[in-house]
């Protein structure tokens, strides 16, 4: 039975989780030039301002390209690792798994700082390349984990079955294993994309003149202006993320892997 206290604590919990979003959402429609709550009046000007600020548009495209590219590459790299970890037993498996999980466990700021130093040592490298390498590195463990989960759900003997029926190893993989990894790969893609798109700490260090990601440019905008443009942009980003996750959940049952 749900007691009254459980009900009350649930309301409080949701209040803390969703309250900030409600405030941002409402503030983004206010007419005042500084963010205020409760907002006064109603205007869509701040949303218009988002699309007129080139800093946001440019960094949005960079974030989008960066997220797509680094997610894709981390998936391509993660697939064979996940396959090896789930299908073969080898002495170093534990170590490999720990090393590949490191980017999840180490604070993002530390990773970003370490990579910045490392890339400086390496010398000439475009800012975008640095961002791309950094993001791929932090996404990689997510790819490995999510794809591993989908592989663990698949009976390892299906490959032998395919081979015994006349398929060679490659065809067995393509015809039997890959189709059953699809949902896992898609889930890893959505998760990776969102992780990269929202990342601040690593991007903060690796961004450079003229090349910056959307969250970082939002931060720097906030240093100079406190108008509701940021609130409007945040509202758009929340909607974007929620739509993406919901679509993935409906289509693929994302939650069974994460």
């Amino acid at each position: 039975m749900v007691s009254r206290w459980m009900y009350v604590s649930l309301v409080i919990l949701y209040g803390f989780l969703l309250g900030p979003f409600v405030i941002i959402f409402m503030a983004s429609f206010g007419e005042n030039a500084t963010m205020a709550f409760p907002p006064q009046g109603f205007t869509l000007d701040w949303f218009a301002n988002v699309f007129e600020t080139s800093q946001f548009i440019d960094s949005f495209w960079i974030s989008l390209q960066l997220a797509l590219l680094s997610t894709l590459v981390s998936l391509i790299m993660g697939m064979p690792v996940a396959y090896a970890l789930t299908r073969y037993q080898f002495a170093a498996a534990g170590i490999v798994e720990t090393v590949f999980s490191a980017p999840i466990l180490v604070p993002g700021l530390v990773i970003g700082f370490a990579m910045l130093n490392f890339f400086v040592l390496l010398g000439d490298m475009s800012v975008f390349t640095g961002l791309f390498i950094g993001h791929t590195a932090i996404l990689f463990p997510y790819s490995v984990r999510v794809i591993s989960a989908s592989l663990r759900n698949l009976d390892p003997f299906v490959e032998d079955a395919a081979v015994s029926l006349g398929a060679n190893r490659l065809r067995g993989f393509l015809l039997v294993v890959l189709p059953n990894m699809q949902a896992g790969i898609a889930a890893a893609f959505v998760l990776g994309f969102i992780t990269s798109f929202n990342n601040v700490p690593v991007s903060l260090f690796l961004s450079g003149p003229g090349v910056t990601t959307l969250p970082v440019s939002m931060l720097s905008y906030l240093e100079y202006y406190f108008d509701p443009t940021i609130a409007a942009l945040s509202t758009l980003l929340v909607i974007f993320t929620v739509v993406l996750v919901q679509a993935a959940e409906r289509l693929l049952g994302l939650s069974q892997f994460v």
Partner: protein
């Protein structure tokens, strides 16, 4: 000439610790042979070597005169049924069964008719469009059978196909497998650790232990006359004791059993046993009976425990030779714990085995 010939197969996963030691077995066309043994005895290794998933260190696998040993598994003409069924979860029953035919580039029309026929044989023609997850365990196993047999392989291999099913279904499925195998006349190797399953399904049974063959024979023969202590133990001779051989006459020997000597069959790796040699005597719980009190013949003892099984009562009797388990009809005379009884042997079913280095009392 045997249809499937396994010749001195040796497989080691670790150096100098062969899992399979010079294993040889000939199987005739259309015959069903079970490999029976505890886990780790090498039966699955044998099966996977025949399928080509394990490359043996030495030895050969020959099917119908063709040397299979160096052939990769996808080029062998073999149907394989797994313990976990290993159905393709993303494909319908129809496409699961059609997979092997598609790999063999059978024309589409022929695929349709052959799959339909195979599904009909296992009684699943109505389930062609289902996914494996929508089927029961027994149905999944039927699909796996249809998938492995529709390609009309030269040899069918079954790896503990029933151990994921519950007891009732297991009996039904093993009859079904046997019926299908005989109908198709397909040469079959069947791996199991369940002696009842092996007995009921096989033309011949191979009892394996630590990578070697302990005994090969018809089920009736192995059941009644184990050649080694291991086989006797595995075949449900639950009672054993050591006894000195009093005398040997042809195929019979005598050992002491309480007041009088008893005569029984013997098996030895070392020729006719001398008197004084130590034999292991084996008998099943239902190959002895109990009489009240002490009798002149038979071995006296005390009832420690009795358990009611329905048609039978099982007694645990403590004697000077050790504890023995004896099954009695439940409508025969009952004995309480502590009662003095005499264990009377049904000696024609008892067997004395001398398979370790000959020991003397």
């Amino acid at each position: 000439m045997p249809y499937l010939e396994i010749h001195e197969l040796t497989v080691s996963y670790e150096k100098n610790q062969p899992t399979l030691k010079r294993f040889s077995l000939d199987v005739d066309q259309g015959e069903l042979v079970s490999l029976l043994g505890p886990s780790g005895c090498g039966k699955t290794t044998t099966l996977r070597s025949v399928a080509g998933f394990i490359q043996p260190d030495a030895g050969r696998v020959v099917v119908d005169g063709r040397d299979y040993t160096a052939l990769p598994p996808n080029q062998r003409d073999i149907g394989l049924v797994f313990q976990s069924y290993a159905l393709f979860p993303h494909l319908t029953v129809f496409h699961n069964v059609a997979f092997g035919l598609r790999m063999r580039r059978v024309p589409k029309k022929a695929i349709h008719s052959r799959v339909a026929k195979a599904l009909k044989m296992v009684g699943l023609e109505a389930f062609a469009d289902r996914r494996p997850a929508q089927l029961s365990g027994g149905q999944q196993q039927r699909v796996a059978l249809a998938r492995a047999t529709v390609i009309e392989p030269q040899v069918l291999l079954l790896d503990e196909p029933l151990s994921n099913l519950d007891a009732g279904l297991r009996v039904e499925m093993r009859q079904e497998i046997r019926r299908l195998q005989q109908q198709l006349g397909i040469t079959t190797l069947y791996v199991t650790h369940d002696q009842v399953e092996a007995m009921s399904i096989s033309d011949r049974v191979v009892v394996m232990n630590q990578g070697e063959i302990e005994q090969i024979g018809r089920p009736e023969k192995i059941f009644a006359t184990p050649e080694t202590a291991f086989v006797a133990d595995f075949m449900g001779f639950d009672n054993r004791f050591q006894a000195a051989v009093l005398s040997t006459q042809g195929s019979k020997l005598t050992v002491k059993w309480g007041g009088a000597p008893v005569e029984m069959r013997w098996r030895s790796k070392f020729g006719s046993p001398q008197s004084g040699a130590l034999a292991e005597v084996f008998f099943r719980a239902d190959d002895a009976s109990l009489a009240a009190g002490k009798e002149a013949v038979g071995l006296a003892g005390q009832v420690i425990l009795h358990t009611f099984h329905g048609n039978e009562v099982q007694y645990l009797v403590s004697t000077e030779f050790g504890e023995f388990s004896v099954l009695q009809d439940s409508d025969s005379e009952r004995f309480e714990a502590g009662a003095t009884v005499t264990v009377l042997p049904h000696t024609h079913k008892w067997i004395a085995i001398l398979d370790e280095t000959e020991r003397r009392a």
